[in-house]
C-alpha cells in the first residue's frame, strides 16, 4: 500500500514537471518567434546577432545555474530565448529575401515542429529510458564542436553540410534523452528541462534551414 502511494506521488510529480515544461516551452518559443520577428524587421547586422547569441550563452552558463530553482529563473529563461530569437534575425533576413525563402523557412519551421513532437511523443508513449544515450550524445557533440571550430577557418561547404546533418541527429537524440529524463524522474526542474528542449529545437531549426537552403533547387 505504502509502495503504491509512493509510486502514485512520483508519477504525479513527473506529470507536473512534464506539463510545466511543455507550458513554459510553448511560451518561450512564442516569445522567441516574437523577438525574431522584431529582429527581422529591424534588419539587425550580423555582429548584433552574434552579440545577442553570446549574451544568451553568458546568461545560460553563468546566471541560470544560480537562479534555476527560483522564480528569477523564469525571467532568465525568457531573456535567453528572447536573445536567441533576436540572433536568428539576420539569418531569416537572408532566406526570406530569396525567391522561395518563405517556403524554406515555413518548411524548416514545420519540419522542426514535426521532429520535436514525433520524438517527444515517442519517448512519452514508449516510456523507454533513453539516458543510456548520454555518453554517445555528449561525446558526439564534442566531436561536432571540434569540427565546427576547424570549419570556422577551413570553410569547407561539404563539411558544413555533414555538420548540419550531425547536429540534427544529435539534437534529435537529446530530445529523446531529455524527455525520457523528465518522464523517469531524472530531471525535476522544469526550467532546466525547458532550456534543454528549447536549445535542441533551436539547433534543429537552424541546421534544417541551412540544409534546405543548400539542398533545394531554386
Amino acid at each position: 500500500m505504502a509502495i503504491q502511494t509512493v509510486d502514485r506521488a512520483s508519477a504525479l510529480t513527473t506529470n507536473k514537471v512534464l506539463r510545466d515544461t511543455y507550458r513554459l516551452l510553448s511560451l518561450t518559443l512564442l516569445f522567441s518567434a516574437f523577438t525574431a520577428t522584431i529582429s527581422y524587421f529591424l534588419r539587425l547586422p550580423h555582429m548584433a546577432s552574434l552579440g545577442c547569441t553570446l549574451g544568451a550563452m553568458a546568461l545560460l552558463w553563468f546566471v541560470l545555474p544560480k537562479v534555476a530553482n527560483s522564480s528569477k529563473g523564469l525571467l532568465v529563461v525568457f531573456a535567453v530565448t528572447g536573445l536567441l530569437g533576436v540572433g536568428l534575425g539576420p539569418m531569416l533576413n537572408h532566406y526570406l529575401a530569396t525567391s522561395n525563402g518563405p517556403t524554406m523557412v515555413a518548411t524548416a519551421l514545420g519540419g522542426t515542429g514535426a521532429i520535436f513532437l514525433g520524438l517527444s511523443g515517442y519517448a512519452i508513449v514508449s516510456k523507454r529510458d533513453f539516458t543510456f544515450m548520454g555518453g554517445f550524445l555528449f561525446a558526439g557533440f564534442m566531436v561536432v564542436i571540434l569540427a565546427m571550430l576547424a570549419n570556422l577557418f577551413l570553410q569547407m561547404p561539404a563539411l558544413q553540410i555533414v555538420l548540419s546533418a550531425a547536429i540534427i541527429l544529435l539534437m534529435s537524440g537529446f530530445i529523446l534523452f531529455d524527455t525520457s529524463r523528465i518522464i523517469n524522474g531524472g530531471e525535476t526542474n522544469y526550467i532546466n528541462a525547458t532550456v534543454g528542449l528549447f536549445l535542441s529545437i533551436y539547433n534543429i531549426f537552424q541546421s534544417l534551414l541551412l540544409l534546405l537552403g543548400m539542398g533545394g533547387d531554386d
Partner: protein, 99 residues
C-alpha cells in the same frame, strides 16, 4: 538538461549565383556568402572562443556520462533509438527533396 550548446550565429546561407540566381555549392560562392566572412576576423575569433569555452564546459559532463557508472543500453534499446533517429534523417531527406 542537454548541454548549453548552440550553433554560433553564423549566417549559414546557401550560395546563390548572382548572375543566374541559381543555388549552387560552389565553394567560392559559398565562402563569398558565408556570414562568418561578413562578421570578419573579430566575429570568427569570438565564435572560436565561444566554441573552445563550450568544450571546456562540456568536458566534465561528457566524462560523467562516459564513465563506467553511466547507464548502459541493451541491444533493443539501441535499435529503438536508431530507428527513431533514422526516421528523423529520412524525414529531413524528404523535406530537402520537396523544397
Amino acid at each position: 538538461m542537454s548541454p548549453a550548446l548552440i550553433q554560433p550565429a553564423i549566417d549559414y546561407k546557401a550560395s546563390v549565383d548572382p548572375e543566374t540566381g541559381s543555388r549552387t555549392l560552389s565553394p567560392e560562392l559559398y565562402l563569398q556568402n558565408l556570414g562568418a566572412n561578413k562578421m570578419g576576423m573579430v566575429g570568427s575569433i569570438a565564435i572560436a572562443a565561444m566554441l573552445i569555452f563550450m568544450l571546456f564546459r562540456l568536458w566534465p559532463t561528457a566524462k560523467m556520462w562516459l564513465s563506467a557508472d553511466a547507464p548502459k543500453g541493451s541491444t533493443n534499446d539501441w535499435i529503438s533509438a536508431a530507428l527513431a533517429l533514422g526516421g528523423v534523417m529520412l524525414f529531413v531527406w524528404i523535406l530537402i527533396q520537396s523544397v
